[in-house]
Amino acid sequence: DLLDAITQAKKIRISTDLAIPPSGMMDSSMKPTGSDVEVAQLLAKDWGLELEFIQTTGATRIPNVQTGKADIIISTLSVTPERAKVIDFSKRYATLQSDIGCLKSLNVKDWPDLKDKTVGVSRGTTQDTMLSNMKDKELKIARYDDDATEVTAAVSGQVDCVGTSATIINQIGVKNPARIFESKIPLASFDLAIGLKKGEPRLLDKLNAWITENVKNGKLNAIYKKFHGVELPPDMRG
């Protein structure tokens, strides 16, 4: 099975999108970095394997493992029942806190205040799905292809509100001090898990064991804190 194949090749191929900061991105010397990147590196080191990143775009993360181009996905995959029909998920290795962030000067306290404001999101993210399902709240949603475009939309004034992780919300003010954004309404916390092809129970068990161990020893929490500025939620810190 896949686990044997990996062990035999002494190499693990991990599907990661390197254009979704702060989980996957490039540092100033154009080396991969980010929370997912370090998780992947930790995993490869622990298992004594060589690590190969399969560069993907958001849309091709899943087909890469489905068709055997990559072994697993570590790329801010959040778990939903719908998606679980198509691939298997490990236990969560992190959670992602998402908020509605708005221009600081904007008087937004609760959902009704968002009426006739446009909320920018990254298309196809779980934030997108959540907001889209809130039919009763009469939200106007602008979907961008990735976080960078979403941030640019906020920076340039195309939108005054965004639905994304707290880390990204803070990034907007850094880019344009005239438009500082802050978290206004907590949206949800999503579980992030490692994705793999269906029907690989041995690999799945091994991943789960590895996650349990590294949650316990605090390594995953350290990585998360380094990039997201906050700790994992208490119930995950063991």
Binding site: A59, I62, T67, V86, R123, R143, D145, T149, A153, G157
Partner: protein, 227 residues
Amino acid sequence: MSIELDFPAVLERWPNFVGGAILTLELAFFATVSGALLGTLAAVGRGTHSRLIARICKVYVEAIRNTPLLVQIFLVYFGLASIGLKLSAFTVAVVALTINVGAYTAEIMRAGFEAIPRGQIEAAEGLALTRFQIYWHIILLPAVEKVYPALTSQFVLLMLASSVCSQISAEELTAVANYIQSDTYRAFETYIIVAVLYILLSLVMRAGFWGLGLVLFPRRRQLGTPL
């Protein structure tokens, strides 16, 4: 087959697909109409005696034809917002696509203008028609007729290229596909459906152009000459 295809799971989102396809068609329609106008003007501009106007038109055509559409869209979308002009994604998409296809249309139309035999223009000059009357009555329609297949292809390509508008939050067909496939993780089913829809849309457009050709070129209709 290493994966199971489950089309019904994706097809149950058909209203989204239809919505996306309609938006794609709308984008293509408006950009085609205004792009045809802009391109024709630019083609006329390139042929004027005013050096300045000809130069401006040439720079426009070359700058657009040699840079990617995506970059153009970003520059219009974020550029306009940065100077405080907040237009809807749809408007921006139409504007950017118009600017883009206008440049290609200009080149095609120029070829059409040049394909009008000199004798036709001299005959019109001999009849004392003004420059504008000559363009309007003698050059425009026959030129369009000559390059109609190229124009048609160009506008179908524009429709296909409008997929990059998903980047600036226009909910056209590709955007819908991205949304659905990241929601369901059923990329294959989604892409196959999208491919079929795009082929259908291109057939719809070609049929539309065929019909328009019947109206525009009464002579062909009357004599039964195919385009």
